[in-house]
């Protein structure tokens, strides 16, 4: 299935979890937050949370700014 991650479409197996999407992105987990279709998915729910087909995922972290 296709999932839009941070603005780019990517292919994932059906039933992929938020945790598996993060593994594929190869991002550090610390200081990161995830929203699926505009709703924050809490850290403790990443393992169990299955990403729906065609979902829009935002993965954000803190950078220098402001």
């Amino acid at each position: 299935m296709e999932i839009k991650v941070n603005g780019s479409w990517r292919e994932f197996p059906d039933g992929a979890t938020v945790s598996e999407v993060l593994d594929a992105l190869d991002v550090t987990r610390q200081g990161v937050a995830v929203a699926v279709n505009g709703e924050v998915v809490r850290r403790g729910e990443w393992e169990a949370s299955v990403v729906p087909k065609g979902a829009n995922i935002d993965v954000l972290t803190a950078v220098q700014g402001g």
Partner: protein, 251 residues
């Protein structure tokens, strides 16, 4: 003397808030943060990728400074609310610097989107510090919306033009029941000092320090400026006079 700055549940001794944006590298940033004496510093929220991890989080935490995530880059209330919620989850803080810019050229705050987002975030339990125009009416509206602090600009972000409308800042201070933090436009230490003399509770700045020739020294200057302005405000200045008034006794 207990002269703490209280924002929501957060208590700070330093009245200088430093933004981390614009520093050439983390070592320059570290020296500037330490010299400033700040206890609260801003970070922006951006897409995480494999290169990610700018190291700024590690640095700020090592220095024992509280994080103030911002919503810079957001154009609508909806974007700002989601960014704030992601920041809370990522950084485990209820503090949010709400900023919704109307366009890239001025980076001026969009008052309608800002107020809308402020209402939603305050209702969602955030400690909202709202970046706003130097508009005394809007500042009151933001306070009524539940903001824990209002942050009027002195001049547009990154311009270093100082405080363009000191009277408006005084009007905001005169009516605010929450801390007023002068945010944006500071160019040098006298601007920071003036903000405090006008009655602001704190100053937030980035560019003036991070892009100065010597950020560490400018950070120290800003710290001294803020402290001097605070002391002068509390001391109560003499009235301004048109004619001279002798300070030595007549002969």
């Amino acid at each position: 003397m207990d002269d703490a700055l209280v924002i929501g549940e957060h208590k700070l001794t330093s009245r200088l808030i430093i933004g981390t944006g614009g520093a050439a590298n983390l070592s320059v940033l570290e020296r500037a943060l330490v010299a400033s004496g700040t206890e609260l510093t801003t970070v922006a929220m951006r897409k995480a990728d494999a290169d990610g991890g700018t190291g700024v989080l590690g640095l700020v935490r090592r220095l024992g400074i509280k994080l103030l995530p911002n919503t810079a880059g957001c154009r609508t209330a909806a974007e700002a609310v989601l960014t704030a919620q992601l920041a809370r989850e990522a950084l485990d803080t209820d503090l949010i610097k709400l900023e919704v810019h109307a366009d890239d050229r001025t980076l001026l705050p969009d008052p309608f989107e800002t107020l809308d987002a402020a209402e939603q975030l305050a209702a969602d339990g955030f400690t909202v510090l709202a970046y706003t125009n130097d508009d005394p009416v809007l500042a009151l509206r933001l306070e009524e919306a539940g903001c824990a602090a209002v942050m009027p600009l002195g001049a547009p972000i990154g311009t270093g033009l100082g405080i363009r409308n000191p009277h408006n800042i005084e009007l905001i201070v005169a009516r605010a029941m929450v801390p007023v933090i002068l945010d944006a436009g500071i160019g040098t230490a006298s601007d920071a000092c003036l903000a405090m003399e006008l009655g602001c509770d704190a100053v937030l700045l980035s560019t003036a320090v991070t892009r100065a020739k010597d950020p560490e020294r400018m950070a120290a200057a800003m710290r001294a400026g803020v402290e001097a302005g605070r002391l002068a405000r509390d001391a109560g200045r003499v009235p301004q006079r048109f004619w001279a008034h002798a300070s030595s006794p007549p002969r």
